[in-house]
């Protein structure tokens, strides 16, 4: 079964991020995106990686940058998203800031949608985001990557948060 599964390209994700004008990525490491995305991002000359100690720090950094239209992205695991929901609530929803998040779904089975995962921590992510009114999109297939730039652009144009959920470990390049 696994031989039929395709994976998103980390290189393509980085190209989409750069195409959207993102200059900073804040991150707490996540094993889903480590090899295929975070390590390559750390070597990108055009993007400054900010390694933060905790996810709410990174969200605050990204939110503050938006005031002069500097574009930033927070890269983390769903456990970090859950830990920082109050910051997401305040900054993204109450303050209506363009908070862009990319979240590795650690524990999600590659052949299953997140909603059917055996991992409770994975299954609840989309319902929690729905309850908070936060737009989100799944990055499972290679072609899902093509929507990243437009979703980031929309977040900044509408001054609203968006969360990308990485359901399969990106390959590199």
């Amino acid at each position: 079964m696994s031989t039929n599964i395709s994976y998103p390209s980390g290189g393509a994700i980085i190209r989409q991020i750069k195409q959207a004008g993102v200059r900073f990525v804040a991150s707490v490491p996540d094993i889903v995106t480590s090899d295929g995305l975070l390590w390559p991002l750390s070597k990108e000359a055009d993007i400054q990686l900010i390694r933060v100690c905790k996810e709410d720090e990174g969200l605050s950094v990204c939110a503050a940058m938006s005031y002069n239209n500097t574009r930033a992205l927070m890269l983390m695991q769903q456990t970090g998203l859950m830990d920082s929901l109050n910051a997401v609530r305040a900054l993204g929803m109450d303050y209506e800031l363009p908070l862009c998040m990319m979240v590795g779904l650690q524990g999600k089975e590659p052949h299953l949608p997140a909603s059917e995962s055996k991992a409770y921590g994975v299954r609840i992510v989309q319902p929690v985001l729905d309850a908070m009114g936060i737009s989100h999109s799944i990055i499972d297939q290679p072609e899902d990557v093509d929507t990243i730039s437009s979703n980031i652009n929309r977040a900044y144009e509408q001054s609203a948060p968006h969360c990308f959920l990485i359901g399969r470990s990106p390959t590199y390049p």
Binding site: F24, C53, E57, A63, N68, A87, Y95
Partner: protein
């Protein structure tokens, strides 16, 4: 012990076109003493002022960022000291108004009240400079020179409440406050 509002009145003389990120009672005091559009007051979640300040420092390297933090807030986000020390923005000045209590939440004691040395923690976390002041005269005599040094710098001020300024929560969480800051920053 330094009266908090007296320290802020001193800082008013030294703040020009800087961004000031302020939290809770220090923010309310500052808004009364020096209302200005480059005051960044919507930090959203307690403890996050230093991280907002880091974002502003990195995105606005030509401007000086003054963070007016509280000890109760900073202990909720102590890891930010390490992140700031690691990134080492030269335009980042971090004031911590240490009163030992969660003043706007019933004045309960902050963990470590009376024992924690924020200047030492900052220095050990990679801040370029750090200072502690307990007397207003010492602070007043030194702060001008300190502000001319490249940051990141942490200045811990042992304070007690001064004049009671109104707590306008509606304003600090308002879109009006954020829009004023945004427009001032982009102008």
């Amino acid at each position: 012990m330094i009266k908090r509002d007296q320290a802020l009145i001193k800082l008013k003389d030294l703040v020009t076109d800087d961004i000031v990120v302020a939290v809770y009672q220090t923010c309310f005091d500052w808004l009364a003493i020096n209302p200005r559009d480059l005051n960044y007051v919507s930090t959203g979640v307690m403890g996050q002022a230093s991280s907002h300040g880091l974002g502003l420092a990195l995105a606005n390297p030509e401007m000086r960022i003054l963070v007016f933090d509280g000890d109760g807030s900073l202990v909720m986000n102590l890891g930010s000291l390490i992140t700031i020390g690691h990134n080492s923005p030269a335009n980042f000045i971090h004031f911590v108004f240490v009163n030992g209590v969660y003043e706007v939440n019933g004045s309960h004691p902050v963990p470590g009240e009376g024992t924690v040395d924020f200047a030492a923690i900052a220095k050990a976390s990679g801040y370029r400079h750090s200072y502690t002041f307990t007397e207003l005269a010492d602070f007043s005599n030194s702060i001008g020179d300190i502000l001319r040094e490249p940051g990141p710098t942490l200045i811990a001020l042992n304070v007690e409440a001064g004049e009671a300024y109104p707590r306008d929560y509606d304003f600090i969480h308002s879109s009006d406050a954020r829009n004023r800051f945004r427009q001032a920053l982009r102008s």
